[in-house]
């Protein structure tokens, strides 16, 4: 028997969302976590991708490099653009046919939209926004289950959820929660073409137009440097100062929720439980007290520099380095020192 670990390979206009690489890394690890069971039963574990779209078969090669053993491809003009019920129909019928044990979907706007519909149609459970995934023995269970850990109550609690009697065990994972799998050039796999018939009358919605929006410029989830501000920044003017530092570092500006709520900066910049999860190399938290809701969004940054006037601010517990001081003195000084360093670098 094959125990299948599925990853939905999200693509739009022929571009694969990087969360797919992160999920493939997770799926591979999960498959190795049941090695002991496989040895006992003689079963086999496979990491498999699911690609839905038009002219997407060519993308499979890259999916193999990131660790998929097999890719199921539903390639047809009807899948040109994502539409909830058409993609749901496709993914559901493939899952019903191949019976994956685990199905992982990125918690992107598209992924969340799809996952809820697919899980309900398959009448199975779904755990959203998982921050840890592990194969382990649940209570009263003979076979290892997917242990899905997610924050609850605004990140104040973490809960581990299991889905014992229903398959697939479905989880969504936010981008940047897990590191991406390392690609293995030249790695090959098997393409399985799926024919999905979509009845004309089942198409109950159509895309009339695409409209560029203002958020397309900000992509803080994938930024290497984020200079984020909290209440201590005091207003839009303070964010201009942070922007200056971010520009100097080639980074982007982030914000904690109160600043977004107060209208100092747009939601696209929000880091935290209700905002984005980020994993930059450098995260500068200026005037952010560090409420748990914020921490869950940035705690995986490689280097966290906290700047806060209050030495007791919880952000210092998460910080790699901290400066207790007025950000309006510290940040301008930092900009200046970096400029000096840069000049020295250029010489």
């Amino acid at each position: 028997m094959i125990r299948r670990f599925w990853v939905y390979i999200e693509q739009e206009d022929g571009k694969i969302h990087p969360v797919a690489w992160e999920l493939l890394g997770v799926a591979r690890r999960l498959a190795t976590e049941i090695q002991d069971e496989l040895e006992q039963t003689g079963d086999q574990a496979c990491v498999e991708g699911v690609l839905i779209g038009e002219n997407v078969e060519g993308l499979a090669a890259e999916v193999f490099q990131y660790g998929a053993d097999r890719v199921y491809v539903a390639d047809a003009p009807v899948f040109k653009h994502y539409l909830n019920n058409i993609y749901t129909t496709a993914l559901v019928s493939m899952a019903q046919k191949h019976q994956p044990e685990v199905l992982l979907i990125g918690a992107t706007t598209l992924g969340r939209d799809l996952a809820g519909s697919v899980a309900t149609t398959l009448r199975t459970g779904l755990t959203a926004d998982c921050t840890q995934l592990q194969m382990g023995v649940g209570r009263d269970s003979t076979r290892k289950l997917l242990l899905m850990t997610r924050p609850a109550f605004g990140g104040n609690v973490i809960a581990t959820i299991i889905c014992k009697n229903h398959l697939p065990q479905m989880a969504t994972v936010r981008p940047r929660v897990f590191p991406a799998a390392l690609p293995e050039p030249g790695r090959k796999g098997e393409i399985i073409r799926e024919t999905i018939s979509i009845a004309e009358e089942a198409i109950n919605a159509q895309i009339l137009a695409f409209i560029p929006n203002d958020s397309s410029g900000v992509k803080i989830e994938y930024a290497d440097v984020i200079v984020a501000g909290g209440r201590g920044v005091g207003g839009s003017a303070g964010f201009a100062l942070l922007k200056e530092l971010a520009d100097e570092l080639g980074g982007v500006v982030g914000a904690s929720r109160p600043c977004v709520d107060a209208g100092w900066i747009s939601y696209d910049h929000q880091v935290g439980q209700t905002g984005k999860t980020v994993r930059p190399k450098l995260y500068i938290a200026a005037g952010i007290s560090g409420a748990i809701q914020h921490k869950v969004g940035m705690q995986d940054a490689d280097f966290v520099l906290a700047i806060n006037r209050d030495a007791h601010a919880p952000i210092f517990e998460t910080a790699t380095a901290g400066i207790v001081g007025d950000l309006f003195e510290v940040v301008p000084n930092m900009i200046q020192q970096i400029r000096v360093l840069k000049e020295a670098d250029n010489d």
């Binding site: 809820g116 009448r123 199975t124 459970g125 959203a128 159509q206 409209i211 790699t320």
Partner: protein, 280 residues
């Protein structure tokens, strides 16, 4: 006549939840429950279209008896009818069981008084899952437009609506056949400041309370804990990170403090300068 149904949830105000650092337990004391903010915007949008087209807005919510206050808030905003699904058997429901109850309820309301649009908030702030809306729409076989930021057109005669939704990269204008479902961002409509007569009407409003047996006899195997494939295996508190080195500007001065962290950062990046690290 236009009929909108809005599915709402009363949630603990998560901006107010704190954790006891000693025991790791949730501090529930003083945490108010509120109408899920996204749902409020969904209601506002439904009411706006009702006022434009004529018709009515029905609000449903699954929750404890105290959720009446959230339903009243919707009536205050201009909703006409409120149904509270409240029964012990509903408790412990995950998204699958919740979507069953909501979908069955919507079907029942629809049978009595056909629905054009089903509104949801984009997500509940207590769970942030954003899964119930799509789940319900799938069960009802309705087109689902998530992350809606504007409703451009509702044509009840030709049976379609044009809804603009926001994705990560762009906005999409979607034409969906009616009845359709949508989950709403806050942009969809501003919360109105109710007139005094509307407010007073809401204060006096008593929503219908539907139980697990009546008027719909729900399948006991599909509701509450029983109908939920997922269960909580264990709970814990998030790991604490080890705090790094902290310098105070009052002790060393701003200049030195900044220099110290920049040096530290340079060390982290394998002897490269901060600029080198950042340029990687």
């Amino acid at each position: 006549m236009f009929h909108a149904l809005v599915s709402i949830k009363q949630v603990p105000d998560t901006t107010n939840i704190r954790i006891d650092p000693e025991t790791g337990n949730l501090i529930r004391q003083g945490v108010p429950t509120i109408l899920n903010p996204y749902d409020a915007h969904a209601v506002a949008s439904a009411v706006e279209w009702k006022r434009k087209l004529g018709g009515k807005v029905t609000v449903i919510s699954m929750g404890p008896p105290a959720a009446v206050s959230s339903i009243r808030e919707c009536i205050e905003m201009g909703a006409d009818r409120g149904i509270l699904l409240s029964a012990r058997q509903f408790s412990g429901a995950d998204t699958l069981a919740t979507s069953y109850v909501l979908a069955s309820t919507i079907e029942a309301v629809h049978a009595e008084d056909p629905i054009d649009l089903v509104f949801f908030g984009k997500q509940a702030i207590d769970g942030d899952t954003a899964q119930v809306g799509p789940g319900v729409a799938s069960r009802l076989n309705m087109p689902m437009v998530t992350y809606a930021i504007a409703i451009r057109e509702v044509n009840t005669d030709e049976r379609y609506a044009v809804i603009e939704r926001k994705t990560e990269t762009r906005n999409e204008s979607i034409k969906a056949s009616l009845p359709a479902a949508l989950t709403c961002e806050k942009d969809i409509a501003e919360i109105p400041f109710a007139s005094l007569p509307d407010l007073i009407a809401s204060l006096r409003y008593e929503p219908e309370v539907w139980t697990a047996e009546s008027p719909i006899a729900f399948d006991p195997a599909q509701i509450g804990l029983k109908g939920s494939p997922t269960t909580v295996f264990k709970t814990g508190t998030p790991e604490k990170h080890v705090a790094g080195e902290v310098v105070k500007t009052v002790d060393v001065g701003v200049e030195t403090a900044v220099k110290m962290v920049l040096d530290r950062l340079a060390m982290m990046a394998d002897g490269n300068t901060i600029l080198g690290m950042v340029r990687q």
